[in-house]
């Protein structure tokens, strides 16, 4: 009985104990769940807005839709820059865990060579975060299909269809159009990121860079619902992109071909301008390069080969080559003399073969040792007498000379719609004191008068000045693009024209200089008589730019000098002289004499444009300057 009692007591104590513990456990359970509930209230009520936004951001992605880049046509509608669809394999590096492994696995599916890997590594280094980096370009349809089957194995790897710029004429138009290339980090800072979202390419030179704004267009966007892997499930909202404007150039492809052919293997440049509009008809810099490899990123080796090639094919001589213009400036200096009233066309100066400034012993030589005797402006231009222009420059003074030449575009960028243009240099007292920290010597004015010394001009500047002369002083800012057309629009819109008039006083003075320039070609004593044409009259001027300064008593012997030391041959011309439709500037580097080497090039260009056919007379031995 006792034992039963104790047993019963035990059981009752146990009952109370377990009951108490169950209550404590129940309280603990409720307390713990309260903590969870407080947390849930915090997440779902207090911070609900915040998490709603995050969830929405997760789900909805704003995808940029890049616009298609405007096409570029020549004056007759020939396509110069095209877009062609291409499939590329892109890796978003940030989304891939094992990059080498992924690439190795991809190499089993698509062909990958060292160049692809090298380009990938290079582009990877300059990528923008979370933007795809192309591993392979121009996938074949079979490769696209093979990858699509296996794409689940490659998160972060996508096939992208994009429009790739191509330049069907390659090297022929490279220096005019420039090229597009992948946007680099530096350019990223300059552009409006939202407008370029989704765009991988940007103009890197030439027309492509200068007209980037017109060609690029405006990015559109689409709001898409995506899953965690970034796969698009549906489009919620979209705004289509605005395609870039097509550009119609003044450039005449036929003429461009003719100019390139006329220059042949010579290093040099040809710029042809329509004087009536300022439109660039042809712009050739030789040698040139194929811009197409640059679009997707040229290999380092190929790039270095181009960059360090002795003939510098990447160098755009037409707009960046700065040469002493030599005697080609004489028509402009002569006109300055007339306009400033320092001379009239009948004023005769005596050339003894050398010129001395009053009170100085140094003599400035004329190219003809015996001298030209008494010459007025026309004869001085036709025979390119240096002494005449020494004296004229001296009388004008450097300031008046510089200002008048500046009206023609010398000494400053012309503002052409080609990226990278340089401005040349017309020296002055102010320039010399500022840059060289030296005083101006009167003798330097003389040298400027014959286009030598520190005087530098680009072939483009020479062509612009020549066109302005042909126009009787109506200066047009040179332009490559004539009009821009919204794709699908019925008409192209002309791009704005900038022009000004040069006042030379009496309009007769233009005629006097132009007549003299025709005599350079027409006269039997003219320095470019070899290119005389029976079909139209040419007004021109030869020039020779010294590369190598001769000692006082040395004679110039072209044959003896190494080729690179030879003078540059220059020629400027426009035609027909009485109704000019084309103005041309030609420079042949180390070509020697302007009349012999450069003038025939110009004649061929003008023939191609004006339809001339006469044979060019065999140039005689270098005579005159």
């Amino acid at each position: 009985m006792l034992r039963l009692d104790s047993n019963l007591q035990d059981r009752q104590r146990e009952q109370r104990l377990v009951g108490a513990r169950a209550i404590v456990a129940g309280v603990l359970v409720l307390a713990a769940l309260s903590v969870v509930l407080v947390r849930l209230v915090h997440l779902q009520i207090t911070d609900h807005e915040h998490f709603s936004t995050l969830s929405q951001d997760n789900r909805v992605k704003l995808q940029p839709v890049p616009p298609s880049r405007g096409l570029i046509y020549d004056a007759h509608g020939a396509l110069l820059a095209d877009n062609h669809p291409s499939f590329s394999l892109e890796i978003t590096v940030e989304k891939v865990d094992d990059l080498p492994g992924t690439i190795a696995a991809l190499a089993q599916i698509v062909r990958l060579d060292d160049k692809d890997r090298e380009r990938f590594d290079r582009l990877k280094a300059q990528r923008v975060r979370f933007q795809g980096v192309p591993l392979r370009l121009n996938l074949t349809p079979e490769e696209v299909a093979r990858f699509s089957l296996d794409s689940y194995r490659f998160p972060g790897v996508d096939v992208r269809a994009e429009l790739i710029r191509t330049y069907p004429l390659g090297a022929l138009t490279a220096h005019v159009l420039g090229y597009v290339g992948r946007i680099n980090e530096q350019e990223m800072g300059r552009i409006d990121a939202s407008d370029y979202a989704g765009t991988h390419f940007i103009g890197k030179g030439g027309v492509e860079k200068a007209h980037e704004g017109l060609l690029h267009g405006q990015a559109g966007y689409q709001q898409v619902e995506v899953n965690a892997h970034g796969r698009v499930l549906r489009t919620l909202e979209s705004k289509p992109p605005v395609a870039g404007r097509d550009l119609h150039l003044y450039l005449d492809l036929g003429l461009q071909r003719a100019a390139a052919a006329a220059l042949g293997d010579h290093r040099g440049a040809v710029v042809a301008i329509d004087p009536r509009t300022g439109g660039v008809l042809a712009l050739v810099s030789n040698p040139s390069f194929d811009p197409n490899p640059f679009v997707e990123g040229i290999g380092a080796q190929e790039y270095h080969a181009l960059l360090y090639a002795p003939d510098k094919p990447l160098f755009n001589r037409a707009v960046r080559g700065q040469y002493p213009p030599g005697s080609t400036v004489k028509p402009f200096v002569g006109l300055a003399g007339l306009a400033e009233g320092v001379i009239d066309s009948h004023k005769v100066k005596y050339c003894s073969g050398a010129y001395r400034l009053p009170g100085q012993s140094h003599s400035y030589r004329c190219w003809r040792h015996g001298g030209h005797g008494g010459v007025a402006l026309e004869a001085a231009l036709v025979q390119s007498c240096d002494v005449y222009f020494y004296d004229l420059a001296h009388e004008l003074g450097i300031e008046r000379l510089k200002n008048f030449l500046g009206e023609f575009g010398f000494g400053a960028r012309t503002g052409i719609d080609l990226a990278g243009e340089l401005g040349g240099l017309v020296p002055s007292k102010e320039w010399k004191e500022r840059v060289r920290k030296q005083l101006w010597f009167p003798g330097e004015t003389l040298i400027v008068g014959i286009g030598q010394g520190a005087f530098l001009a680009t072939p483009l500047q020479l062509a612009v000045a020549t066109a302005t002369m042909a126009n009787h002083g109506h200066f047009f800012q040179p332009r490559v693009a004539r009009a821009a057309q919204v794709p699908g629009a019925p008409r192209a819109e002309d791009l704005p024209v900038v022009s000004h008039l040069i006042d030379a006083g009496n309009p007769q003075r233009w005629e006097q200089v132009i007549h003299a320039m025709t005599q350079v070609v027409e006269s039997p004593r003219g320095t470019a008589k070899g290119i005389r044409s029976r079909d139209y009259r040419i007004a021109g001027k030869t020039g020779t730019a010294q590369v190598f300064t001769l000692g006082r008593n040395q004679a110039y012997n072209a044959a003896r000098l190494a080729e690179k030391m030879r003078d540059h041959a220059l020629f400027i011309a426009f035609a027909p002289a009485d109704d000019p439709r084309i103005a041309v500037a030609v420079i042949v580097e180390n070509g020697g004499h302007g009349g012999t080497v450069a003038a025939p090039v110009a004649r061929k260009v003008m023939d191609a444009y004006l339809g001339g056919s006469t044979l060019i007379a065999e140039p005689e031995a270098a005579d005159g300057d």
């Binding site: 104590r13 009952q15 456990a25 969870v36 609900h48 789900r59």
Partner: protein
Amino acid sequence: MAIRPGSAGAQRLDDPSQSGLLMRLHIDAPLLVGLLLLCAFGLVVLFSATDQDAGAVERQLVRLTLAFGLMFAVAQVHPYQLRRWSLPLYALGVLMLVATLLIGDVGKGAQRWLDLGVLRFQPSEMLKLAVPMTVAWVLADRSLPPRLGRVLAATVLILIPVVLIAKQPDLGTAILVAAAGVTVLFIGGLSWRVILLVGAAAAALAPLLWYRLHDYQRQRVLTFLDPSSDPLGTGYHIIQSQIAIGSGGLHGKGWLLGTQSHLEFLPEHHTDFIFAVIGEEFGLTGILVLLALYVFIIYRGLSIAVDAPDTYGKVLAGGLSLVFFVYVFVNTGMVTGLLPVVGVPLPLISYGGTSMVTLMVGFGMLMAIQTHRK
């Protein structure tokens, strides 16, 4: 329900409507209703969480049916038999754990599976039941509260499998197995002094444990403390599940309309993180319903413990009920960002069969304790 202070609770079943058929079938009606409601809710959520994969829901339904069958089968076993089988089951489980460590399959970098030819078996699941049974067996030998010697013996019996499981390494299961043993001790009247002492010692030893952790385990704890430190790696789970729950708000986005789970931002959305799907689609309201169901089941389990006729039944029923709560708390705490991420499924809701079977066998034991009165 009142906890009756009177003698052992057979009399509460004197009501003839309550006894009778269900009693003879050894089914506890309140527990069954609670479990059925919970599982039905789970299937509805699962349909959404698996992206309306009827096949997956069907497979889960088959598993549930089997698990319920197993529960009924276990319910037929008299607690006396359970008590007898406690130690042998425990010994078998520990042996298999050792075997797993020696020859087990390496799944997800941890040896958890024992391949028995026809079926792959996770011995640690068995121990989730064998450990509380064994601890209950140790305690039931004498009347409660246990003396220190028995507590120590129980502790050793708990620690052996816990250490073995932690070695696999499977920290989550190790903690749950430990909890299954400790809750039995707690219900059995482990003295508060010991509880405080062990708590203090654990706090002091925590830094030591830190150095014993594997890198990925340490990473989980670090990420738990600051999920944004690794938003694309381990922190991703936590961030995305909080976004899912938070964006659900009070009423949720609606069934099948949760973007976080359907667009796959939420990882493991039909297994360990299914709680976040509930939070996203049904909002706080839905979660309250779910938690109410859990609370009801735990409450029913605790009252079975209180009413149980013998010591073994009391402590085992109490321990099983409480460890069920530990599952709920660890999972919800992990998904809401209160606790570090350990792979613990949401009981009876998450897709998968392993933990479901263990849990339902446990509920079968509860029913057995409640319905076998002699």
